[in-house]
Structures are given as structure tokens and as C-alpha cells.
Amino acid sequence: MAREAGDRPRDVSRRDLFKTAGAGAAAAVAGAPLAPSTAVAQAHLAAAPQLEALETLTAAEADILEAICARLIPSDENGPGAAEARAAHYIDRALTGPLRASRDAYAAGLAAVDVYAQASKGVPFPKLAPRDQDAVLTAMESNAATGFTPNAATFFNLVRTHTIQGTFCDPYYGGNANFAGWDLIGYPGLRMTVGPEEQRMSAPKAVRKSAYEDAMFARKGSQRGGDHGHRP
């Protein structure tokens, strides 16, 4: 979010503005203190401290991935989607670590998406209208899209899996920003102790916190807290 539009080899798109505004709205819901201003200005204010680097992907790859994520789980009347949850940021970080085995698949697959978009629609994927982006993704999912190794559906499913992870994971990992994913599906949140009433069929009020806000699991966690109940 802190990447300035000017850093990118293209203009700020309508989608980017919408996305940024969506993040601001989510932050407002979360109770973040915001100055009374326009939605976009609020979003920049809220996002300002969140520095964000590309750790694995190139800027061009990230543009394509951001655009795919934004269509897989779009921002719509049901609330923010994968863009606001920062699923692409999650994927970028994970590709240097636990998902590094997929790095080459992303390099080849994202390039193939752009080539296929150019060939079938005449425009790079990020610049396509949402409806045309959806048409490309539909062709990938059904394996009708060409130019992918081993095939388009494999890459589509890889990105879908990781987009879901990035939208619904613990926010520690760089996705599920502002708990956008957990709020969407009504996850009532992490409770270290759950009573019988909280297992009635109506879920209790949501708690919004990361596992690593608990001192026991944080790296600088309390030794004393961590040892309770454990022998020897």
C-alpha cells in the first residue's frame, strides 16, 4: 500500500484507487482513528506507516498478480476482497520462504497470463476491464487458455489456493489485512479459552487479533507463561 503510484511503470488505475479506498473503509470499521477527510485521503493516512516492499516478484509481476487477486475475491457489496486483504503481498513474501518451490511457476505463469491477455484481448492483463480480466481467468480455469506450462488450470488453481491463504490467514503473514478475510466469513476470532456458551450455534462476537499478539507465542514471549502445564 505504501508503494507510490509513481513507482509503477503505469498510471494509477481506477482499480487502485478503489482498492485503496476500500482499505481505508476497512480500517474505519476496525476503529482506526481517522481524520475527517475524503475517503482517499483517509486511506493514505491510514496506510502511510505500512511500508511494503516487493520481496520476490518484479513490479510487473506484482501488477498482474494484484489484478488476478482482485478478481478472484473482488471487492463488492459483500465487503473488501483479496486486494484489500493484501493477498498478493502475502504471496510475494511467502515466495521467498515456504512457497519458494512455486517461484518459477509464478514467473512463468504470470508472464503467460499477460501474453494470453495480449493475444486474446490486445491489452496487458492489468489494464483490461474487469469483465475482460474475468474472461481470461475463466479461460485459464477451464484450461482453454494457451501458453501455460504444464497448463493454465494448474496455474489458476495455484494462484487461487494462495489467494485464499493470503485472504484468510493470520494477519502476521502479511495478508488478511484489517481482518478483511475473517470478517467476510464471520470467523469469531482467536479465543485461547472457549466456554460452553461460545459453542452454541450462534457464534459469539468477533475478537480480532493475531495469534502472535499473545505474549506466549511472540518471539519475545514470557518464558513463565510458556511453560505452564508442561513437564519436565
Partner: protein
């Protein structure tokens, strides 16, 4: 050069669910025990409620030895290999997989010990499926009952007894064999959803009951009760309410000062005296250094795949085809528990399955084993139906759309927003039989980082398993619909690839021509080598194997302590 260590009485390879149990009666009997464990100690601080890490990245087991030696699989000897699993939940660490398992702690039912004789008696010998190598166990449930009882109390198991000394308690499992007393703790509590399921089962004329779990329902052995926080599935317990051997039997054994735990020790072979054919100790590698640990008795207690692999890798003049394998039985009679043919239900209301644990649920045993008449059916055996409260966000968002929505985009998003907490997947464990062409051996190509071949599974479900899978699936669908589901989805039979319920390979039996270990768990061909774990089990039953494997381990260890001079003295 290997460093020769001081001789000990007993060396146990693997301090997991079974090795961690066996150490206790041995240490209490005053024997010096060295436990070799490939992993390290983990503490509650390692067990964060983190779905991505625990359930999708396989931490902590992903970083472990076990994950570099996941078996390969092919359905039969002429079929192509299945894609190799990237992650398998079997793990290394003191406590092993009992650190993060589901902790369902079932006894087998009486029929499971006598599949051949009971099937023959009731339906005729022709009903044993063609090609099956199934045998009766060398003893019945009544022989194992005292050991089940001991382990339930030493480890700590919660549950509701259904048959105490022949007196039936309808709150428990009517079909269990007689037990001498109840569980040491009452069962885990139900949820509104699991109670709803139990009510529906009763309406169908079935007898639901809460399942047994090695999870504290109340303070036990100074460890607190379960907190039901929802991250028990492939996660360790942050309050040590899950009774892994790391917090139960291993610390008790260490208190005797007779158990020495050696962590990060990777066993590479069992050494043999070529003249006597007896084992002399275990070779292992720790920190890049080779060691030889001599012992009077060796107990293999790694997982089924690793028990078999270590035997096959331990070649000598006395055992050119692998230790204990002059009879060619190592790796035979293999079974991956049939847990396929799943049923997923969609309800028109929210279930609040977000909290709880896989061991918190409602069970039905009416369709397990031979608890119903098979006269007009084309299979033997059956399945345990299990519905439980367990849901996390990534898994919920990855739910089936029941053909009612696409798999992405706004319509999908709308679907999961409404339904992420409205589905439930039943766990259906079913009778699995051994067959002559289902087996384990060493893979000719795939190797672990040390250059040793990994285990290869050659196995597939047969007609009996497919038929009973479909039968059990229908019963489960009926149950969900009775409880108010608006749709059910039935999954495929699945493969017999690497499983967390892997049986056979070193089967127990009196006949040494068809079994590797005798009725006490000691190798027919090598009297001072014992084998612990589900690899000795000749039938799967329709319930989780861990408690049975632990009861057998206690029994083998107690037999060793009682007959020390005979077994160790040579």
C-alpha cells in the same frame, strides 16, 4: 568412525506415541532405557493457534526428518506412481505425532480381533474377500483389556463407558467389549451442534455417544482441562491438555532416572551378531557423528513406514533381505486405513463449528464392524460415523460450493460469506483388510537426504472396501439429512497412499510363516528384537489406532520386564 557407547539394557528407536509409552513400565521395572528420538523437545510456546503454519505448511513436522522420507505410492505393481505428498503429518519430536494428533483414543471392538472366525461362524468362510491375507489376532480383546485400561489411566483418556463388566450403559458405546471400569475422566463436553446430531441419530434409532479422547476434560495429573480453542487439529496443545507421551508417560519414566532421552538421533540400522542372529544395538547419527548404542534388547517404535524401512535397511549375512525378513514377511499385510468416501453436509443455518477439536463430537457405532447383519450384503466390516466441531478460516473458505456457486468471483464470495459456517465434514473410519498384493518395500529410486531409500507403498482399496465405503456413506448422509442438512456431497473412495493410520508390515501372529512378530511383539526370527506400533496390527478396525498401539506397546514392554532374563539373556 562410529563412536561406541556404553551398553544399556534396552534401546527404543522413536519416543512417540508407542515408544513413549513402553519406556514407562521398563523404567519402573528398573531397566536402563535409552530412547533415541530423531526430533527434539517441543514446549507449549511452539503450539500457536496458527492455521497457515500448522495445517498448510506442516510446521513443525515440515522441518523434520519424517518429511524427507514420505513414502512413495503406486496402486499396484504395474501402475504409475501417485504424485508424492509434499507434507505428511507424521512427525519427529519427543512425543512424536501424539503431540499434534486428533487424540481420539478408541479401543477396538471385539470383532476386530476375530474377523476370520466370526465371519466364518456367522456367514461362512466364503465371505472372507478373495485375496485377503486376514487372520484372527493371536488373542481376543479380553487379553488386551487390562493394557487398554492401564494406558487410559497412565496417559489420561476422557470418555463415556458403554460396557462395564457386561453391564451396558446407554450413554456410551453399546458395542464396545466389556471393560473393568470407566474412563478416568468424563467425556469432553458436546456443542449445540454435536448435541443436535446426537438427537438426530436417536430419531433414526441409533445410539450416539461422545467419543474417547486423550484430552483432559478436567484437570488430570496436574495438567489443565481442554480450552476448546479450535487449533488442536495438527497443532500441539498450548496448555498440555492433550495427553501426548511428551507430557504424560515420558516425564513419568524420566522421574525414575532410568530413561535417558537422546534427541536428534537418527537411527540408520539395527546391528546383528552374525553367529547368533540376535540384535546387538542400534547405529545412529547425531549432529553428523555416527554412534553405536549397544543394548541387550532393541525395541523399534518408529512409525509403520519407518519400522519396516529400518528392518529392510538393516541387512547382514544372517538377514540378507533385511532384518527379521528371512521369511519374507516384512512389509506384507499392509493397510492404509480406509477413511475415504467422505460425506460433506450443507445446513441452512450456522453451526458455529469454529471452536472445539476433532475429538469433540458425536459417534455412532451401529454400522461399524459386525454390529449389524451382513447376510444380505456384499461386504464384511463397516464404519464408525464421527461428527465433530472443528473449523478454521482458510479451510472454511476452501469449502465445497455444492454445485451452487462458481469457484471464484463475486458469486463465490457471496456463497462463502453465507455458508462458511454452514457445512460439516464427517470422519468415516472403515474396516480395512490386508491383501496379498498390498505391501511395503524400499523404493528403487526415491531416497532420503542421507541416501537411504524411502518406503514404497504398493496398495489399493479392493471391492470389499469400496462397497462398505458406499454403504457407510449412505448411512452418514441419512444422519446429516435427519439433522436438517439441505444437501450432502459424497466424495470418492480415495487411494491407499501415505496415511496417518498405517497398519501391518510387521504383523503379529503365532504362525511364523505369515507373521513377523509373535503374540508378545517380539520377532519370531530375532528373540531380543521387539516391535511396537500399528505395524504389528493385523486388522484395522473402524477406529483410530493409537490407543490399541499403545496398549500393545505397554504389553510388550511389561512382558519384556517380566521375562527379562529369557529375552535379554540369550
Amino acid at each position: 568412525m562410529a563412536i561406541d557407547l556404553k551398553k544399556t539394557d534396552v534401546v527404543i528407536v522413536g519416543l512417540g506415541a508407542v515408544g513413549g509409552v513402553a519406556a514407562l513400565p521398563l523404567a519402573r521395572a528398573g531397566l536402563d532405557v535409552i530412547g533415541l528420538e530423531a526430533g527434539s523437545w517441543l514446549t507449549p510456546r511452539d503450539f500457536a493457534p496458527d492455521e497457515l503454519r500448522n495445517n498448510f505448511r506442516g510446521w513443525p513436522q515440515a522441518a523434520q526428518k519424517a518429511n524427507t522420507e514420505i513414502p512413495t505410492h503406486r496402486p499396484n505393481a504395474s501402475a504409475p506412481y501417485s504424485p508424492r505428498l509434499p507434507i505428511h503429518p507424521m512427525m519427529n519430536g519427543v512425543g512424536g505425532t501424539s503431540l499434534h494428533y486428533w487424540a481420539q483414543s478408541w479401543r477396538l471392538n471385539p470383532w476386530d480381533f476375530r474377523v476370520v472366525s466370526e465371519t466364518t461362524r456367522r456367514y461362512g468362510a466364503a465371505r472372507i474377500p478373495k485375496g485377503s491375507t486376514v487372520e484372527d489376532w493371536p488373542f481376543g480383546l479380553e487379553e488386551l483389556e487390562p493394557y487398554y485400561d492401564t494406558v487410559e489411566h497412565e496417559v489420561g483418556v476422557s470418555g463415556q463407558a458403554g460396557n462395564i463388566g457386561g453391564t451396558i450403559d446407554p450413554r456410551g458405546n453399546l458395542f464396545e467389549g466389556p471393560r473393568r471400569r470407566g474412563y478416568p475422566m468424563p467425556p469432553l463436553r458436546g456443542t449445540e451442534f454435536t448435541e443436535r446430531m446426537a438427537t438426530a441419530a436417536r430419531k433414526l434409532g441409533w445410539q450416539p455417544f461422545p467419543g474417547p479422547a486423550a484430552v483432559n476434560s478436567q484437570t488430570y495429573d496436574d495438567r489443565p482441562a481442554c480450552q476448546y480453542h479450535g487449533y488442536c487439529n495438527r497443532g500441539g496443545c498450548h496448555v498440555s491438555a492433550k495427553n501426548s507421551t511428551a507430557v504424560s508417560t515420558i516425564p513419568k519414566a524420566m522421574e525414575t532416572k532410568r530413561l535417558q532421552v537422546v534427541t536428534q538421533a537418527i537411527a540408520t540400522s539395527v546391528a546383528v551378531d552374525e553367529k547368533s542372529g540376535r540384535v546387538t544395538g542400534v547405529n545412529y547419527v547425531k549432529g553428523g557423528q555416527e554412534y553405536f548404542q549397544p543394548a541387550d534388547v532393541v525395541l523399534l517404535a518408529s512409525y509403520t513406514y519407518e519400522n519396516v524401512r529400518l528392518l529392510l535397511l538393516s541387512k547382514s549375512h544372517a538377514f540378507p533381505n533385511g532384518l527379521a525378513n528371512n521369511g519374507g514377511q516384512v512389509g506384507r499385510h499392509y493397510m492404509s486405513h480406509h477413511t475415504g468416501n467422505p460425506v460433506t453436509a450443507l445446513f441452512p443455518f450456522e453451526l458455529n463449528n469454529w471452536y472445539g477439536l476433532p475429538a469433540q463430537g458425536a459417534a455412532v457405532d451401529n454400522w461399524a464392524d459386525d454390529n449389524f447383519d451382513h447376510s444380505g450384503l456384499d461386504f464384511i466390516g463397516g464404519g464408525n460415523l464421527w461428527v465433530y466441531s472443528d473449523r478454521r478460516p482458510i479451510g472454511a473458505a476452501s469449502m465445497s460450493t455444492f454445485g451452487k456457486a462458481p469457484t471464484w468471483g463475486s458469486a463465490w464470495k457471496s456463497f462463502i460469506k453465507q455458508n462458511a459456517d454452514r457445512f460439516n465434514v464427517a470422519y468415516l473410519q472403515k474396516t480395512t483388510l490386508p491383501y496379498e498384493d498390498n505391501y511395503l518395500d524400499l523404493d528403487p529410486v526415491a531416497k532420503d537426504p542421507m541416501g537411504f531409500p524411502v518406503t514404497r507403498i504398493t496398495a489399493d482399496h479392493k471391492d470389499n472396501e469400496k462397497r462398505l465405503g458406499a454403504f457407510v456413506q449412505d448411512k452418514m448422509a441419512q444422519w446429516f439429512m435427519e439433522a436438517g442438512a439441505i444437501a450432502v456431497e459424497k466424495g470418492p473412495t480415495g487411494t491407499m497412499g501415505p496415511s496417518t493410520h498405517a497398519y501391518g508390515g510387521t504383523r503379529m501372529g503365532d504362525n511364523r510363516a505369515s507373521n513377523v512378530v509373535n503374540r508378545w511383539g517380539f520377532v519370531h526370527e530375532v528373540p531380543n528384537l521387539g516391535i511396537l506400533g500399528a505395524s504389528v496390527m493385523g486388522t484395522s478396525g473402524a477406529h483410530n489406532p493409537t490407543l490399541t498401539a499403545q496398549a500393545l506397546a505397554w504389553r510388550t514392554a511389561e512382558h519384556l520386564a517380566t521375562n527379562w532374563k529369557t529375552i535379554a539373556g540369550g
